[in-house]
Symmetry: C2
Subunit: 239 residues, 2 copies
């Protein structure tokens, strides 16, 4: 596992990429350059409409998707609540589902060591950049220590490219909410009922309803809960 990696060259190659498919080739080359078992970029999207590329076996990837493992995968859950890159050992593997997931992952060739970098983009986009390997703890610690920063940059550039290519698919860049709409969504997210929200904002409940409706429309939401969820995941409101 090693050491002489030309970061500049990698990032330049990444920058020069012009098609989504090329990322797969690049990540394989990266895996070889770093001499680790696996390297994966994984754009997580609850809709199941996820994009990813990497060096896991097709069988594992298929199984992961079919079983909806992104819901119990401690790597995803853990990274989602963190900002730091995180070593898999520091995650919570205590639940039964997590342990089962772990043994199965090992059986499918995923390394016993792992290092994952959470990445977040606009509109609540969330992705992971993961390096995995089979080795002892000390060796792995040296590796992450040595290459952590490089991996952050690579992850950043990877996501940049992925966003660039996927941008066309996501025309749903919702209009920004008006201040009043933000207020309404925020208070609703805090558990207030419509009556309470209207009271807090000193407006009639009818007026409030107009805000909720227009927010729902702007966000393409089906109901209030959906609208609040979307507003949150797009970072339009903070609770």
């Amino acid at each position: 596992m090693a050491n002489t990696v030309n970061l500049d060259q990698i990032l330049q190659d990444l920058d020069a990429t012009s098609a989504l498919e090329d990322l797969q080739d690049i990540i394989v080359a990266l895996r070889d350059a770093f001499r680790v078992d696996h390297m994966v970029y994984h754009w997580v999207d609850s809709a199941g409409d996820q994009y990813g590329c990497g060096t896991y076996s097709d069988e594992w990837r298929d199984r992961y998707v079919v079983q909806n493992y992104h819901r119990i995968d401690p790597v995803i859950i853990g990274c989602f609540q963190r900002f730091h890159p995180v070593d898999w050992k520091r995650l919570d593997w205590s639940s039964k589902a997590a342990r089962h997931f772990h043994t199965e992952a090992l059986a499918y060739g995923v390394g016993n060591q792992g290092f994952s970098i959470p990445i977040r983009g606009p509109n609540g986009q969330f992705a992971l950049f993961t390096v995995s390997h089979n080795c002892e703890d000390a060796i792995w610690a040296d590796f992450t220590e040595a290459h952590g920063r490089d991996l952050i940059l690579i992850a950043h550039f990877f996501n940049r490219k992925a966003l660039e290519f996927e941008k066309t698919r996501q025309p749903e860049q919702s209009r920004a909410l008006s201040p009043r709409e933000v207020d309404a969504m925020t208070l609703l997210a805090m558990g207030y009922s419509r009556a309470q929200v209207a009271d807090t904002l000193s407006i009639s409940e009818h007026t409030l309803r107009v805000y909720i409706e227009s927010a729902r429309f702007k966000l393409g939401a089906l109901n209030t809960t959906h609208a609040v969820a979307r507003a949150m995941s797009r970072g339009l409101i903070v609770v």
Copy 2:
């Protein structure tokens, strides 16, 4: 404006920081090391409850806060919908409010050039790391070209520290949700009605209601929308 910057030393210093106040000293030192006019870290929070540190004058900062400029600042608006670091020249300064904001910023000593890096953390956290300077376009382009990557890493480490210090404020942890509860919350967050969720999960609506109620209880939520919002902000569900 310059060139010999010891990135390792900077990041180590950042990592060793143990108090929020120290970040202010570090950012001043950084500004001097990079020989630019201003360097600012700005945690943007829609609530107005923002944290920031940097080298802008106190007058400008106060005015910014009082006037709620974060709502019209093209840097914030532009960065919020981007993932790339962005040069200020590429932002949209066309609106009247933006032009007024710009001339005023210049008057308060903000540089005519700027480079801002959006950073996103868990729960929709959003921050900016900005470098600003007074110089010509070509010189500025050289600078951003030369130091863009370093700045990304510095921004990352800055935000890491800021999150670390702020985390202590909100240690609320709740019991984990059961798989079925997660399913229910997730589908509700996706805009499904109770009937649709029950149908999707192939359970009766009555059963579904029990899940929602127990999730609400576990999360300390007042209603379904609140429960979904809390589940999201705690990273228990991914939408």
